[in-house]
Subunit: 251 residues, 7 copies
């Protein structure tokens, strides 16, 4: 993408600035994230919703094994996008930190605290030599003192808090859809439907089996939404209709 | 394969991203796997089946020494493909971890747990400097609480669970054959025949002596299928017939 | 920017001099800072004022999470500009040092002492191999023995004390505005207005929500100025008027 | 040999993959082995036979000092080919491991176990940075529980078991001769003759003094065959006859 | 400056010789020093005088924060030139060593001893890998057993003792002026005037506020000369007169 | 010498193979040895003889300080050729090992054992990164259980036992002379004469003062042959005659 | 100097051989020595004489601070040439070793022992990576058991003993003069005169103040010859006469 011959000098070393003040390896790692399937996170009045596209590349692959959504603690979860093996390392890091916090202090780690722990680690991989950045991004969501919170961690190691966002491919269309449709009084069910609709803004056709959905609420904690409920939300969101497909034809 | 001049800048350093977000060394390691002979793994109703092409390069080489299939524990085994010396390191790692688990906890390691332990190690070799990725892939199969499970670990360090899959050369034809023929009610014998037939979809001619077969079941644990039984399955699968060879002529 | 072919030899290695005695990686890191939104620091007779442009890239991003201003101790704070993840590391360093000083000596660290601790760390990253410079700058302000003091730390690791200054983009116009308008008898309120007006000298249009303001005074310590007060100062400073926009048209 | 311009990018770093999945440094190390004189290993019904070409480059060099065959334990020996100083390191490693096993467990190390210990070490030198692969190959032979066994270790670190094989130069002709003539009921004497004849398939003219021969049997353990016995076998094998030389003229 | 294409090979590695026996990184570091404002040191009969050009780049920068002159001990001080952040590291090193000496031995470190401690450290950065040379030079002056002494430390790590010298930009004119005008019976006041006049030989126009002056004498130890006294010396030296400016026109 | 453009890729890294299986740095180190003056070693029936060319480059240099021959133990010595400073390191290594052996075991180290200790160290410098090979070769000779033995250690780290050999420049002519004239019943005196004559086969004119001679015998141990005895042998060998010079003219 | 394009490949890495067996970094370091002013060492019947050219680059530089001659122990001294900061490190090393020897053993270190200690350290910097060679040479002289001895240590780490020699610039003319004029019965005074005359063979005009002279004798130990004595020797040697200058015109 960024093209040109002069950048070659800068992108060979892991952690060097280019003359215009960019760190190409970090931008290329962001590109690795955009090559992945999208994962949406939505903060609703009732809790956090994760909706991740996780379509298997073969009918013989176990869909669950694609693993885009993970529980980290009772009221804490994460969604990933990008280079799968890299994402797994970050998720493991987050999980070990969550468990360690519970063991040491007898209470769950805060959503923001955990996010910043992870992004500190990501940043270090963009500055020190002998390693490449992580080609993965995470959404980290949970309930802090009764309040749902949602953060994103990108390959530069920047943490940001969101009402709703997406990581992975199709970011422009999906984030656009979220910005148009998100309201702060969404029910959890409406959040799931919004997540599915947002994915549909980018992806022409997909089945309920192609997505994984999880919710985190005060009452139920981290909950993987079963396939039949996803199918119902799917229908409620009206995805798969011709209109939707037509809309995408214009892209 | 991936061609072009610009990629030279990225594939020299072990663990750098290219502008389009790829890690070439990992893709080249995948290429090393495709240069190897294929190993098929199939989950049947009765257990896991491994069928590996392991033809000796000389009539004086001991066929067993090619070693594509290995027992890791009573109900746990692995099949490999790719750079042989690299595969051996991963197999040793898996075996040491299996034995260590049994020693520490008095019980076998879970199939998924073991796979992720191995893929974590593989991933680290794609990110830290001073080393190259492993040019090998593994299938890891076994019985967990009575259920047969089958995972694959690729050179990027991504673990995936499969109903049936193949690692190594000829992936397109073999996986295609598996997708068409696999059903979830396969008997163990049918699984072996399916594995042989899948290999035949890629390889024009081969003898029973050219393959190694192993099964893992609740009752019998890891079992190397002896040559005469393989020959019977061979016949049952109808491999070596003219029809098969003709079909391959179209490739 | 600095253009030319010959510099390629020097900017690949992190910490080498060019024939004209420059360290390009440091200059590129400065460029990374100029790519960021500006943060203004002003020393007034009553205390230190920070005014930072922190406009969210999406309406769904939580504005607070952009985090340009941070409290370090009761009477000590910092404002950042540049590569966000890098800035976070420096802020953490400053915070840990502030807290450590309080724990060890029971009293707050001096503003100058803290600044020099941070710049020593920054400098080391410009001289030793295996790392790149920090692509971020900090303003550090506070009350030392009743006196307001304001320092800036740039990517070369040079600490300087200022009456009023800016880090980040638009430095020429904003510093120019500060030099013309700053007087040593500014009230805190006048300082906030000056900060907003200085930002307006560079940025055509922005809303009260697009800036973060904090003050540090003997009486109130570090205080985040709430949105409604910012809006009042905004109005008092007369920003958003047509005249201002016109003035910027000439750029 | 492998020619072409593009490979330059890959063979500079010790342990990188080329786009087609090869590790050039390993292939070049194999080339270093082919530059060496050949060493043949043959498993007979009575034991293992090593026949190594070891012609001194000067009449004043002590032939024994060329050292291609080494005793490792009572019933364990090795033959080497390739870069002499590298081979010596591997032989020392094998010898130390053999002696260590005997000291620790009071019994000889298994032929296969020892081979794999050596190949693990060889493989590590093909993957980690800061070193080159070993430019040498080994044959390791011995008696395990009364059974003669013969393994080869190549520069990639792959262990293989053989009935009869050759390492070093002239592999194509020598291995071809072995494949044609080897039978599983060879006497030890016939094995020595076969080894000499196999070398003769590659080398037009050589004297009994130009080869070193050793045997490993249950009764006699590792035994260096004295020059006069070699000369007898030489005659028995009919080497040096015109017919042989003629056959080689066709090469 | 040193121009040419061939030098590229040598100036990339920190610490290599060029074919003509030069270490380019050291010469480039010297260039970094010449890019800085000049600092003059003068040994007078009464003590050592430092006169440093330290003009702030903005009217809002606190002049003291430019910090070219530093007290190291009661009768010991230093003046710097060049890359500011680098100079600060050397000054800290000198200060810690001075303080450490006092703590350990209860007496001040010798001027020569301290200088050589600093230059040893500088030299090491020109020989070992993984770091660049310091882009700064120091003057170190003080009273040793009642005698004023003045040393300079350059980026190669060479210590030299001087009657009067300059580090930083404009060296040729300033040192020339010193060589013409210095006598060994200068009073302290005359030394200050000579320092100001020497700077004026290079710099057309500057104000008393643009320079920092310090003296070290047996009676008063290290003393920062206050602005009003500097202004008096300024007048006494007759700087700012038309004649001076004219003289410089000829350059 | 070895010429060509393609080799550049391989000879920059210390320890890489070229496509034809060579390690250029080792071959260049051998070239460094050939640039040195020759040292001859001869095993006679009575003991080992060393004859080394050691002509001083200036009449003011102390001839002994050129030091080509060294005593290592009572019955053990060494002769060197090549890069002098490198040779000194190897000689020190050999001497420390000899002395250590005597201290630990109360007896002299074996000639072969010592040689292999040295060559192991040499080999390591050809395989691990971060160092270059040694540009020196050694002859190591001594009396083992009454038997004279002579070994050579080259820059690849290969040890070989010799009846008579030469290291350093003019190898072809000198070794040729030795091969023609050496017999296994040489007296010590005849050995010295042979050594001188062999050197004369390469070097047109040289004086007794230009060579150093040492012998190692059971009775006398290591003995530096004094100048007058060398002169006698010189005469006995008939060196300096016109015939000899003529013979060399043909080269 | 050594010119040519091909050498670029070899002189970038510190410690690699070129195809013709040279180590360019060592040769470039020798070039750094020739760029320095010459230092002469002469062994006389009464002791060792050092005569070093040490002309200050400015009239304001303290001549003593150029420091070419240093006392190491009562009867031991050194003269240096080349890169000043590098020479200082070697001199410090020599001094610490001399003092350490005295502390540990209660007696002075031998001249030869000390020289070899220093050259071992120099050699290591030519072989291991991560550092460059020393760009300096030393003469080390002293009285060993009543005998004057003189050694030189060059940048390759080779120690040589001399009757009289020179390090630094103008080696050809100065060593030539020494070879012509040196005799073994020189008095100390004659030695000083010879040293001055030898320098004059290279340098057209110089004053007594431009040289430093030291002597080491059994009775007086290391003694810096005062300026007035140098001036007398100067006169006695007849330097500065027209004849001398004329002789140099021919160069």
């Amino acid at each position: 993408m960024m093209g040109g011959n002069d950048q070659q000098a800068y992108d060979r070393g892991t952690s060097l600035f280019s003359p215009d003040g960019r760190i190409y390896q970090v931008e290329y790692a962001r590109e690795a994230v955009s090559r992945g399937a999208p994962s949406v996170g939505i903060r609703t009045a009732e809790g956090v919703v994760f909706v991740a596209m996780s379509r298997a590349s073969s009918t013989l692959m176990e869909a669950e094994s694609i693993e885009k959504l993970h529980k980290l603690d009772d009221h804490l979860g994460t969604a990933s996008a990008g280079h799968v093996a890299d994402a797994r390392q970050l998720i493991d890091l987050a999980r070990r930190q969550s468990q360690g916090n519970r063991l040491r202090y007898g209470e769950p780690v805060g959503v923001e605290t955990l996010t910043k722990f992870v992004t500190d680690h990501i940043q270090e991989n963009t500055q020190r030599g002998g390693t490449r950045p992580y080609g993965a991004a995470l959404l980290i969501g949970g309930i802090d003192n009764g309040e749902p919170r949602l953060f994103a961690a990108d390959p530069s190691g920047t943490p940001n808090e969101w009402k709703a966002t997406v990581i992975g491919g199709g970011r422009q269309e999906i984030q656009g859809h979220l910005e148009e449709e998100w309201t702060d009084d969404l029910s959890l069910a409406a959040g799931i439907e919004l997540g599915l609709a947002a994915l549909a803004a980018h992806e022409d056709e997909f089945e309920p089996d192609d997505v994984a959905v999880a919710t985190i609420t005060e009452e139920d904690g981290y909950r993987t939404v079963p396939g039949d409920e996803v199918a119902e939300s799917f229908e409620a969101a009206g995805i798969g209709d011709d209109e939707d497909a037509d809309a995408d034809d214009d892209e």
